[in-house]
Subunit: 136 residues, 2 copies
């Protein structure tokens, strides 16, 4: 469904949040190993996430990545849109620039509800809600 960068970002942030629940701030090496992603690439992606304000980081001994507790939960849609835009989750299935209920492509009638479901899913689920599923 998503591209590699998005997948690694999703898995990485969920892992970070999961560790945070145990009071830990994991580092890049650990994260990459646990989510089965290339370490250097994971580092680059997590740095982008931090620069975008999606996650916090701390340098030096005992450092790593973490979420600030007073911040609102992060819908995965925000992360997805920031890494790959919204074409995949909001675009026309046929790739048309203009396609809506008034001027639909041949796929519209059947694809639009699916796309809506995808949008609901990514808007509703957050890094935190996903991490909780693993915590249980």
């Amino acid at each position: 469904m998503f591209n590699k960068e998005t997948e690694y970002a999703l898995r990485g942030l969920v892992y970070i949040q999961l560790q945070n629940l145990s009071g830990r701030k994991p580092g890049v090496t650990e994260i990459a190993k646990e989510i089965d992603a290339p370490p250097f690439y994971t580092a680059k992606i997590l740095q982008r996430m931090a620069r975008n304000g999606f996650v916090e980081s701390l340098k030096g001994k005992g450092g790593g990545f973490y979420f600030e507790k007073d911040k609102p939960d992060l819908p995965i849609k925000d992360l997805i849109v920031s890494t790959e835009g919204d074409k995949k989750i909001s675009g026309c299935g046929f790739g048309l620039k203009h396609c809506d209920a008034n001027d639909p492509c041949a796929l519209h009638e059947l694809y639009a509800p699916i796309r809506d479901a995808i949008n609901t899913l990514v808007s509703t689920e957050t890094i935190q809600s996903l991490a909780k599923k693993y915590a249980k």
Copy 2:
């Protein structure tokens, strides 16, 4: 949703079928213009489609692309899988190699039904069924 090659192939083949309904065999130049795709790239893609047996072609004057009438309708899933594999329509939303009902990722419960709907859609709809929607 899909990559450019898939989009151009889908739109191109549907346009061919639509013209076939009027007894015409459109050529690459016309097809590319009508579906708003790069002409040379469209040529390359349609050649692949022809080589794969998804569509027939005829060289020379009056030539172009067409579907054989005695052939069964072409489910768009076949075309999609041939251009980009089945990862996007059948893979785990989290990108895990192993993810199913027994060993689900955090997205599985909510994403699996959506993925099923996508699979049903692309298995059910064919180039011919889509063309008919434009014919009306």
